[in-house]
């Protein structure tokens, strides 16, 4: 990486977006798995209400999994929404402003969700 800095920075070539591509798929698989884990627990016998719902998120392993998935979702949405800005918004200033908004929006939501999970 050392020879790749400054004016020598590699800006073209193969595999330039493969890290984003891969991270979006790995995070997507995590989110799908989490959806399944929550759904299965929700559909287990018993009345669906506060006790059951809060009970799903109470165990330590579930808090761990939820934290991982919330962070994964933030990364997943970042790659996806940034793709949208890169496709449709050409002026660099507007694109930068929208990307900053996206980061603020996502970091805020992820922080709020983490607060919800860990104060229970």
């Amino acid at each position: 990486m050392g020879s790749n800095l400054g004016s020598k920075r590699l800006v073209v070539g193969a595999h330039y977006g493969s890290r984003d591509w891969l991270s979006q798929r790995v995070t997507a698989a995590l989110i799908a798995l989490f959806t399944l884990v929550v759904l299965v627990q929700l559909l287990l016998p018993g009345e669906i209400g506060y006790v059951k719902w809060a009970g799903i998120f109470a165990p330590q392993w579930m808090k761990f999994l939820t934290l991982v998935v919330v962070v994964a979702l933030g990364l997943h949405a970042w790659v996806g929404v940034r793709d949208i800005w890169m496709d449709y918004v050409k002026p660099a200033g507007v694109r930068l402003a929208l990307q900053v908004f996206t980061i603020v929006w996502l970091v805020g939501c992820v922080g709020w969700a983490v607060q919800v999970i860990w104060r229970l």
């Binding site: 997507a28 996806g80 929404v81 929006w105 996502l106 969700a113």
Partner: protein, 142 residues
């Protein structure tokens, strides 16, 4: 030479203003809806975290969560909240099923026109059917 060639428009990406007029194959419909549903989920993310917060924090907040669907939130009526949730349900289902379709294509390398059309059809049918089923529950039809 230039005069004999018909001027043709070049679309590098389908612009938002072209979504309704651009004739897309079924796989293209799934693709653009994947993007639209993703953008919708991104924009509604604070509302989703609000739902998570109120449904989990305490029984009092859970009642506030439940009553959002009947008496609404602030000036927003309950019916509007239900409609937003219906939109969320569709967006999540479509985005997830279309995403699983892409993962399946990545793994199997099955990307012929015919395969793409069939899997797109399955994606649309499954996401719309599940949306109708869950939507009927949301609006108290069963």
């Amino acid at each position: 030479m230039a005069n004999t060639l018909k001027e043709r428009p070049v679309y590098r990406n389908i612009h938002i203003s072209q979504i309704l007029t651009y004739r897309l194959p079924l796989a293209g419909v799934v693709s653009i809806l994947h993007r639209i549903s993703g953008a919708l989920l991104f924009l509604l993310l604070p509302f989703v975290v609000w739902l998570l917060d109120n449904s989990l924090t305490s029984e009092i907040s859970f009642d506030r969560f439940a009553s959002a669907f009947t008496s609404g939130i602030g000036v927003l009526p309950g019916g509007f909240i239900k409609l937003v949730c219906l939109g969320l349900i569709w967006a999540y289902l479509h985005h997830m099923i279309a995403g699983l379709r892409y993962l399946w294509m990545d793994v199997t390398h099955r990307m012929s026109k015919a395969d793409g059309r069939i899997s797109a059809l399955i994606t649309l049918a499954l996401s719309l059917l599940l949306t109708v089923a869950l939507g009927a529950k949301l609006f108290g039809l069963y």
